[in-house]
Amino acid sequence: MSGDALGLWGVPLAVASGAIRVGTPFLFVSIGECLTEKSGRINLGLEGTLVLGAMTGYGVSLESGSPWVGVLAAGGVGALFGMLHGWLCKLPRVNDIALGIAMMLLGMGLAFFFGKPYIQPSAPMLPSISLGFWSDVPQVRAALEVSVLFFVGVALAVALWWAFASTRLGLIVRIVGDSADAARAMGYPVDLVRFLATAGGGFLAGLGGAYLSLYYPGSWSERISSGQGLMAVALVIFARWSPLRCLLAALLFGGAGALGPALQAVGVSEGYYLFYAAPYVLTLLVMALTVSPGRQLTGAPGELSVQK
């Protein structure tokens, strides 16, 4: 292994690879929530689903020896949890925002409880694709190790965007989310569509959780999530309900998050707390610059209770 440091080049490299590495869980959770919210329901409990998915993925990977089985299991558990949320929200008069927060607690509690035996052992990890094969520099090669899940996430984001824009199924979801009355008048099963969209959102969040525990940071413990699920739900609003913008938002956020450690590594270490706040400040700034009162509601599903 060559000992050449990258010097200042380390910073943009870290930001770029951080965008992918750190941003992937945000990507999955935000497109999952995007799907749910397009159908007119909000699921704040995805933080709990994320953690539950992380635990399930890790545990199943350990027990079965295959990380991919773990990923599928994580998605499955996420979908189940999403279905629970969806089923409860269907009941009249239940507040979906509040329920989401309670589900977050339940998800975290279940994950930590059943995850206790999995903290010590090391589970098989997900493989990565070496995009940096063209480089001689080991650091560049290491930085360009990208998880397969990232590509899955990008593909899903594109697929969702295309589905919302051009397919009948996507249109149905959008109508259900914009006006339940109109959807019912057209004969669409509003409750079922929302239920499935919520389950789908949970599935994606579960995948995001599996990424955390099976790839990066690649470990299971009670501190694995630092609020990614919650922040990702916020990013959906930031991305104005477009799956492609969710992808950009996740990359932006992940890249900004990698700034702090990268700058310290090249000697900029004053006020590192402020650098750790960088992703948040950046997100707020971008919103302040691009949103205006008139445009606020553009793209917002009409039935979303956050907007009412």
Binding site: A102, M103, G109, G227, Y280, V281, T283, V306
Partner: protein
């Protein structure tokens, strides 16, 4: 025939006091019965969970009772843990009346605590009451401005307040850490970076005869005051119109922007005050112990209380009781700390899901209603 006439008269006639009372009694009974059913269902579900683990539900609930309220010590433990939640719940509940979902209490608490510590240190030699007042004002001002910022961004820039308050919360915590470990650090606080200690005279003590600090009383008073504000004053009335239908409010000529900012300021002031109390009553200085989740728990308390400041009180106490018994359960039953989270999750999901039971049963509906 006479029955139909009687029914018709009942419908069209002005409600008599007796009918009114009946409505109130029935509704009141419903408000008690539904959560009770929810708690019962939650207890049953959780018992099933425990049985599958080979643990005794009887033991568990006996311990919860023991740890939460069957002794003077436990009761105080519960109330003490509920105290900060009263204020942070208000931070979410008050703006919610205007239809705003604010989830930034954690950050407002941290910054408020920092500001209060700063004020306390700056006023070194002044009489205790003055220092405390200054600290409270500093905490409330900084916390209030922080959340008011989220409200302003919503009204004048159209930025969704949920996301902005969450982001501002993270930024606030980073700022607090920066100041506590940097410009405001007490050089003697080596291994746990903190600000200097506030003057001894400014420390908030316990309510006489108890082990609970005055923060509980402050929280209770504010819950009552803000309930009065939101339900009995014209400000509260205007706020609820904004919450009900923004367009209608604007058409009515209500100063929506001002209402939003004021409500958010009040909310942030509550959280900032909670931070001040943590500094003055518990820690004696500002440091990372301010960020322990009171803000996030407060959000759940607010939603469970349907954003009614009075209902916040029993919900916060419920929370406090569950958490207070957590330690005993860890020790006596050998269950991990996460068990309490599972219980909380089940209880609160049950309470929220039980919302659907309102209006379902005839027994709770007033007889004259159709």
């Amino acid at each position: 025939m006479s029955e139909a006439v009687a029914a018709k008269t009942a419908l069209t006639a002005a409600p008599t006091t007796r009918g009114d009372l009946e409505v109130r009694l029935r509704r009141g009974a419903e408000t008690v019965a539904v959560p009770a059913i929810a708690l019962g269902a939650a207890a049953a579900l959780f018992s099933l969970f425990l049985l599958l683990l080979g643990k005794s539900p009887l033991d568990f609930f006996a311990l919860v009772a023991r740890g939460a309220f069957t002794s003077w010590f436990s009761l105080q433990n519960t109330l003490q843990r509920a105290a900060p939640l009263l204020l942070t719940a208000l931070c979410c509940a008050v703006p919610a009346r205007l239809g705003l979902v604010i989830i930034g209490a954690e950050g407002a608490l941290a910054l408020g605590g920092l500001a209060a510590a700063g004020a306390g240190i700056a006023l070194g030699g002044a009489p205790g009451a003055i220092v405390q007042l200054a600290m409270a004002l500093a905490g409330m001002a900084v916390g209030g401005l922080w959340i008011a910022l989220a409200g302003a961004l919503r009204h004048w820039r159209g930025i969704n307040e949920t996301i902005s308050s969450l982001i501002l919360s993270y930024i606030a915590i980073a700022l607090m850490n920066h100041f506590v470990e940097g410009p405001m650090k007490d050089p003697a606080s080596l291994n746990k970076p903190s600000t200097h200690a506030i003057p001894d005279a400014a420390v908030i003590g316990t309510i006489p005869g108890t082990d609970v600090h005055w923060g509980l009383a402050v929280g209770l008073v504010l819950c009552v005051v803000l309930w009065l504000l939101m339900s009995r004053t014209s400000f509260g009335f205007a706020a609820r119109i904004v919450g009900g239908n923004l367009r209608a409010a604007q058409l009515q000529g209500l100063a929506v922007g001002r209402l939003i900012v004021i409500a958010c300021f009040i909310a942030g002031a509550c959280a900032g005050l909670a931070g001040m109390i943590e500094v003055a009553a518990v820690n004696g200085r500002a440091n990372a112990s301010l960020v322990v989740g009171y803000g996030y728990t407060g959000i759940l308390v607010a939603f469970l209380a349907r954003h009614n400041p009075l209902a916040v009180i029993p919900i916060a106490v419920l929370f406090g009781g569950i958490v207070a018994s957590g330690g005993l359960i860890q020790r006596r039953m050998g269950l991990p700390d996460a068990t309490i989270l599972v219980l909380e999750g089940i209880v609160f999901v049950a309470i929220l899901a039980s919302d659907t039971l309102y209006g379902r049963w005839r027994i709770f509906q007033p007889r004259s209603a159709t």
